[in-house]
């Protein structure tokens, strides 16, 4: 289906982009003002020997180029270095946070994309009707809701006032579970509010993109032909319409998935969800370069891969791209 030349070109671009990202990543955090050890050293009467030892531990006493060389060498062994804050390998910190983020945003993404596309198709198929304008207006309203505010409102209504859901964390602290079922239940009840928040604020764009794209497609001649052939309405919309309207939706989904890995800083903050977004936020405040570099690198790699995937999917879905 794909030509070898095309794939090789793509792979080359990929490698080049990655190297640029790695370099930029390294330089970016070192031109930021502020010294990661500054605040540590101020916090107490730390002996100069102890400060010097800290600098040596993180390689901060070496010239920038040497630091860069060590950074590259570590990366080639899949080592992201040592966290300034936690003073343990970054990879061990990342793994756990990443899992938590993927659980939260994975659930939300599937939900949002499926429901968003469904509602978009629903509206487009009824263009001009009350159901259509109702859906569009609702989508616009939800899209303009601020994430943080929506989260706090849900916390207040469902968490504090109705006491229906826990408002923070991923499990009940200190809980002892009698069964696997109990534990899953605990996680589900904790994941409910953050997922709903994400769904509320992010579903609008998928509805609108799907709708506008499908509305265009439904005016095309081949749709008229399909109708004239006597195909059922469902068949016309889904098989002939949606399939052709999916391209922009795929781009939007690819972008959204890269956000999944970057974490949803606001939702994670409101609901104290121990994910990547919160980790990045704290790391910025603490000038924890190794954590930031690792996060941004993973973030960049995901964007690059998601784009590649959507490029390849285009090839499958749209014969015109294949020819070009």
């Amino acid at each position: 289906m794909f030509r070898a030349g095309y794939l090789a070109r793509k792979a080359g671009q990929l490698a080049l982009t990655l190297f640029a990202v790695v370099t930029f990543n390294f330089v970016l955090f070192r031109v930021l003002p502020g010294d990661p050890l500054q605040l540590i050293a101020r916090s107490g009467h730390l002996p100069p020997e102890a400060v010097a030892r800290l600098r040596a531990l993180f390689g901060l006493d070496r010239p920038l180029l040497v630091q860069f060389w060590y950074y590259l060498r570590n990366l080639s062994h899949a080592q992201f270095g040592f966290s300034f804050t936690y003073r343990r390998p970054v990879s061990s910190i990342l793994a756990e946070r990443m899992t938590n983020t993927i659980i939260l945003l994975g659930a939300a993404t599937v939900f949002i994309v499926l429901l968003g596309v469904g509602l978009g198709v629903f509206a487009a198929a009824r263009r001009g009707s009350r159901a259509d304008s109702g859906t569009v207006v609702t989508a616009l309203v939800f899209w303009s809701l601020p994430t943080f505010w929506t989260g706090m409102i849900l916390v207040f209504l469902l968490g504090v006032w109705l006491h229906a859901f826990p408002i923070s964390g991923i499990t009940t602290p200190g809980a002892v579970y009698s069964s696997w079922f109990d534990q899953t239940g605990d996680v589900v009840s904790h994941i409910f509010l953050p997922t709903v928040t994400l769904a509320l604020v992010d579903i609008g764009q998928f509805i609108l993109i799907t709708r506008s794209s499908l509305v265009d497609v439904l005016t095309e001649d081949f749709i008229l032909t399909a109708k004239a052939k006597g195909l059922s309405r469902r068949n016309v919309v889904w098989r002939h319409g949606v399939r052709n309207a999916l391209l922009p939706v795929i781009t939007a989904s690819a972008l959204y998935i890269s956000l999944v890995v970057g974490g949803a800083i606001q939702v994670e903050t409101v609901f104290s969800w121990p994910g990547i977004g919160r980790l990045i936020y704290d790391a910025v405040l603490r000038r924890d370069y190794p954590i930031l570099e690792a996060c941004f690198l993973i973030f960049a790699v995901t964007v690059i891969l998601a784009n590649l995937a959507s490029d390849l999917l285009y090839q499958v879905l749209d014969p015109r791209v294949r020819e070009a």
Binding site: H45, A50, Y86, R88, N100, V155, V160
Partner: protein
Amino acid sequence: MRARTVAALLMVALLVLTGCTRSAKSGSTSLRVGWSSEPDTMNPLTTYSTEAQEVLQLVYDKLTEYDSSLKPEPGLATSFEYSSDGLSITYDLRDGVKWHDGQPFTSADVKFTFDLIHDQNLSEYGQWLTDMTSVDTPDASTVVVNFSKPQAFNPGLSIPILPEHIWSGKSAEDIQKFANDQPVGTGPYTFVQWKQGESLTIKRNDSWWGPEPAATQVIFVLYGNEDVMAQALKAGEVDVLTEVPPTIWDGLSGVDNVAAVSIPSFSFHHIGFNMSTDPKSQGNPLILDRTVRQALAYALDRNQLVQLALAGHGQPGSVLLPPAFGKWQLKIPADQQMNANPDQANQMLDAAGYTDTNGDGVREAPDGSPLEFRLIAIESTTVDVRAAELFRNAAAKVGIKLDLQTMDENTLGKTVYNTTDWDIFVWGWDSGVADPDYMLGIVLCSQIGGNNDIYYCNKHYDQLYDQQATTVDEAARMNIVHLMQQDFYDSAGYIVMWYQDKLQAYRTDTWTGWVQTPGGMVFNFTRDNYLNVTPVAA
């Protein structure tokens, strides 16, 4: 129809599941503590966070502890005694104490810990052992620590005792990298689990030497932000909050079953002046004139600062030591303070020859250079920014122009400590110990390049510092400590703006017996509140 059935089933399932979690909730014997920042590491020799210290003080014992009124009480040592020359301290250790892993605790562990910190120059604890010469262990339950100078501060109050069988053989570099994921101590609680980014759990050590605490476990829960933390307290997810910002504290007072308390703290916020006399200093030399600094001190109204910047959650500032130090703090009568007296400021500046010669509202020095200074503050610390604005207005009223610029804390730190290219800043200090030594030590000549953030250097002050650090007699030492505070106050190197209160909150329907220790119920130098609270009878 089918879709609706599925939805209904989902809702039922969800309700069942949430029902299960309710029952899975931990019993009332857990003490749940909410905070908005988590520990850095469980290694007591490399941690820099209050959160880690809070956990570790329950896992590790010290030789001597602070009780809930911050008086020394026996820890691993049942008693201690100074030699007549003050050069050595003898600690009598408890018998039969075991480490959490079952190994016996002996005087060798104490010697090991003190030697390790002293020889390798590790951690902040090193400051208490700089004059240590040797540690003797005449027998398994006696430790004698010898010093080259008498020690006013008993280091047993500060240093956690580590197990030799776990820490021995580690170099300073090893220790730097040692995460200590499963800390083993002798303390009232044993470490269970730290889920990073989420919570940390410790459970009661049933073979601890002291009276058994009521809480079978203590769980520290991390919240992403303080608003949600406050909501969690209201919802009953936690029992006590370590620190609450003023606006949220106001919202918590008056809530059912919640008590919001305001306690004098060991901290202050201050205005610092660049007093570097280095000829290469890039600071404005006019600030080196004490008259100018004192005039600024007079111009500023501390009561107004507390009301407007701090919403009343603190006390007006004066000397270096905050009120939680009790009688160690020098009380300067209100009419002798440099405070809220712009007339006095104007008179002083007039008399010193600073007059507005060109009529632009800003005074000029006799050589024509204007009294105009750069003022920097941390943008995310809103109280500081507000205070800086009020300070700028107050200074303008006496003909001194301040140009305010805000930046993040890291940048401000780098500017202040690594350059002399600044004039005035707004920042703060917390005392790392319940002893005056730490705060008095900030502005020593020897701390230039260390903690000294204003490059202040006064040999007389330094002499007094050395004297108080070696005066074991409390009354005599207190005299010197008071002298030092007066000395530094007169120099106007700092304008201490306020001593902010420690704002905390707890649920009144779960645990009772909280003592409002100066410095805080929790997040303080005592762990006794954790050990002494009892469940509210149902």
